[in-house]
């Protein structure tokens, strides 16, 4: 085995572990908002590791640098925050309650209506969205 293959194997195992930890967090964490953290970060990095390992193996086999993996990982890294944002927004819109003990959970209503935090609610004329 060459050095590149060792590196690739290490990255593969690391990636697999990260993906698994993301899934464990998915099952174990208590509410939607905390659950969002696991897939957006851990799973994305996990798959990034696997894709980089794939690139290393490509080079090790002498088939040149392949850009497909780069494109996939770039795409995933760009879309992960967007989908997390969409899911968070949807859960706030549906008034999914936060875990008890979440600091500032009273802000949730403000976020839902996209208001600034200090503004008193009474002088807001805009009707609530539905």
């Amino acid at each position: 085995m060459t050095v590149l293959e060792w590196v690739a194997s290490f990255l593969l195992v690391l990636g697999g572990l990260f993906v698994l930890i993301g899934a464990v967090g998915m099952v174990k964490l208590p509410d939607v908002y905390t659950r969002l953290h696991a897939p957006t970060k851990t799973t994305t990095l996990g798959i990034g590791c696997i894709l980089i390992a794939s690139m290393c193996l490509h080079v090790a086999e002498g088939r040149g640098l392949s850009i497909q993996e780069m494109v996939i990982s770039l795409f995933l890294f760009i879309t992960a925050p967007v989908s997390a944002y969409m899911i968070a927004k949807a859960s706030l819109h549906r008034r999914v309650s936060m875990l008890k003990g979440t600091a500032n959970s009273e802000l949730a209503e403000k976020v839902r209506d996209r208001k600034a935090p200090e503004q008193p609610t009474t002088d807001e004329q805009r009707p609530a969205e539905h």
Partner: protein
Amino acid sequence: MIKRLFPMPLHAVMLTLVWLFLNDFSTGHLVLGLMLSIGICLLVAPMSDDHPKVQKPFKALKYFLMVLWDILLSNFEVAIRVLSPNSSLRPGLVALPLDLEGEFPLAVLASTISLTPGTVSVDFSEDMKWLYVHVLHMKTEDDVIQSIKQRYETPLKEIFSC
């Protein structure tokens, strides 16, 4: 005239290059890639709007590398948080006052916040002056706000110089 036929030259070149890399380097693919990328740019050009340009590419590169490093660190942090018992979690919502302006820089800021240590951006306030952030494990509110402002917002402000 040229502006109307080739509205986004840089994007077109980049698309062609990606097409060539995804397939292989041959004249046929070059022609097909050029046709496709110019066509796509023509279709997309009316939808694009002006946003502040990156003023300092070197700083932007530095920022990119720093974010990559932070993503790596944040993953270990989140992994530890995930594997430790739930009762030790102290999640929280934070309203982050923004100095940054413009849609594109704000989108970059929100995405970096989502990808880095224990924070996910939830929403902007309507006037784009506040960003709400959900924190997985919060020590103090000011801590979170200070670290985000120093680490991400200040360099972004320099990069887009606004």
